[in-house]
Symmetry: C2
Subunit: 373 residues, 2 copies
């Protein structure tokens, strides 16, 4: 009826492989979403992003509302057309970034008043305004407006923000104005407090959202804390709805989380690392600035489908990074996105074959072994 | 016998259309060479450079000898392989850039001693070392080592540098170590002094180089001075050899110069302008930073073959430029290179049809008219 759907094709333990259908196509899950903050996946052409196997790009409401503004994007035909990405787009609510980037924030029951980090101009984000912006941008998945606190934090503060986010979830759902194939997602909060996480999840499930995110993780806590929260929270979420772990993470974070039933991820790591000379590969993480790559004629990965990983020597990448050439950022970002997508494709295939445990073990062995073998 | 050749297919007045054949393919002339300073055409993938119709890329000896060093490039299989460009490469001699970029230069009969602008390390370029570096890089066309003086300048200084460059031309030719399909080019100097230009050209013609460049122009003098030098110098050069005007220029400079018999050009303008928010189009030059583009849904040129010029709105390009996103630099560089190559392709066709005058008049009318008509 809404045109938005999620189908699970296979499970392996608590992990599952499936398909999300949106107004702009299909998303194979577990899915890694490329971060396209300001209507561009930094340093990349969208054609190349697509070729890595990316099905979804994430747009940031906070950035887009400030520049070029949601209304401008709408005037230009919506975010898909604006950035030449005809596939699925998820927008965040601005809640996380308004807390991490904006100046002079003031949180009230109504929402968050803040000043732009770009020009100091004054703005207000509320659940209603966030959903309106996401609707105006035309994204396929709209995230509820929430408040995310840093960890570690007091139980009192975590509880306060979680309860506020619940009230904002209801207002967000009421304000959702998407059409067929579009859907609002709720966000579980509760920090590292298991009972608060479970309370948040239960309340949100009662509101019957088409999808559920787990927010407020990977904000400074150890990986084991994050995984314990997932272990205790994911079972509370409905099996028939997609589950999205926000802002996560390293390749290992992704494998650990998808094996706990997470279906969607987004993270700046592959793109940001690519702009800073770092490469993620089957053999672990490499720093291309390192002098040992200066005379290495080997590509990042001769068996990669990705031209950036396959067709350029490490010596060349080292040269580009050392010379601060834009192409170095482009090629490493591209190779990193391709690696993340290959990792997800491998996980999907392994879940389908009931061999996720083997896949994770082999993948981790590759990282540990490096290229010595 | 050398495998390097130049064939003129058509002439229109003093303009000609032809083909240069090198060890790495054919170059349709008049040709615009994309500048690939540090083994990369800045902000571009070579796949896209090729798709603009680029047949030759220029590499800078000065930059490459300092980083990653010519020997490192050779170790990695040569410049073509290093930068994934299997087509023709021309390298300059380092003469121009050592004078404009390096620190603590000292020019002697032997060559130029200097310190790197990157790390202050001490180096020496001589005609012999420049030709050795170009041979080690493996480029197809090697430029003689020369001394280029700024304009305006004293006749005495222009004369001195021109005579020195003649002696360095002989040493460069003797030191040339290219194989089949590779060739050394001489460089005419003499500033804005017509008799010195002609003397330089005559002496170089007597040395019988496979190609001739006109250097030391577009270094601050008015266009009319440059064109007068071409009018008086080009006729001294042999009709059967390619003629290369170094470091030039604007689209109009190119049309004016090719109509005077120039066959090859290189210039940073399209690439540098692209990194600074400027676009060259059939309708003239646009500054995408300008607020008037913020709400313009039109692409740079709906009729362009170039995806960058055709598939993105000016509003999007404006947003990317204002947001200092790398994709903005990439798309504008790409569109500019495509425009330069389209301009050359149009000139080649017009020369073939004997209608170069009409083509230039129509092109200039388009720039003057802008998009009002």
């Amino acid at each position: 009826m809404t045109g938005f759907s999620f189908t699970v094709h296979a499970t392996d333990g608590t992990a599952r492989a499936g398909t999300i259908r949106t107004a702009h196509g299909e998303v194979a899950t577990p899915a890694f979403m490329a971060v396209g903050t300001a209507a561009t996946v930094k340093a990349m052409q969208m054609r190349d992003v697509r070729e890595t196997g990316t099905d979804v790009v994430l747009g940031n409401t906070y950035h887009l509302m400030l520049r070029p503004t949601a209304e401008r994007v709408a005037e230009m035909g919506g975010l898909h057309k604006f950035m030449n990405w005809p596939h699925t787009i998820l927008t965040d609510s601005g809640g996380f970034q308004v807390m991490s980037l904006a100046k002079l924030r003031k949180v009230t029951e109504e929402g968050v008043a803040f000043q732009s980090h770009i020009d100091g101009s004054k703005h207000m984000l509320t659940p209603e305004r966030s959903m309106e912006i996401q609707s105006v941008l035309g994204s396929d998945i709209h995230m509820q407006f929430d408040e995310c606190v840093e960890l570690p934090n007091t139980r009192e503060e975590i509880d306060r923000a979680m309860r506020l986010s619940l009230r904002w979830a209801e207002r967000s759902k009421s304000a959702f104005r998407g059409g067929p194939g579009q859907a609002p997602f709720a966000i579980v909060q509760g920090g590292d407090q298991i009972d608060l996480r479970q309370a948040s999840a239960r309340e949100l499930v009662a509101m019957d959202f088409p999808g559920y995110a787990v927010g407020g993780l990977a904000v400074g806590e150890p990986q084991e804390v994050m995984l314990r929260v997932l272990d205790e929270t994911v079972p509370v979420l409905p099996a028939a709805k997609p589950r999205y772990l926000m802002g996560v993470g390293t390749p290992d974070d992704l494998l650990q989380s998808l094996s706990r039933g997470i279906d969607m991820f987004d993270c700046v790591m592959p793109t940001r690392a690519g702009r800073h000379g770092q490469a993620y590969t089957r053999f672990g993480r490499l720093n291309l600035k390192n002098a040992r790559h200066a005379t290495d004629p080997a590509p990042l990965d001769p068996e990669s489908r990705c031209p950036a990983a396959r067709d350029y020597s490490r010596a060349y990448l080292h040269h580009l990074v050392r010379s601060e050439e834009i192409l170095g950022m482009t090629l490493l970002t591209w190779a990193n996105l391709a690696y993340y997508q290959d990792l997800m494709a491998g996980a999907r295939a392994a879940i389908g074959a009931g061999k996720l445990g083997d896949y994770i073990a082999e993948t981790k062995a590759g990282w540990a072994r490096g290229e010595e073998a």
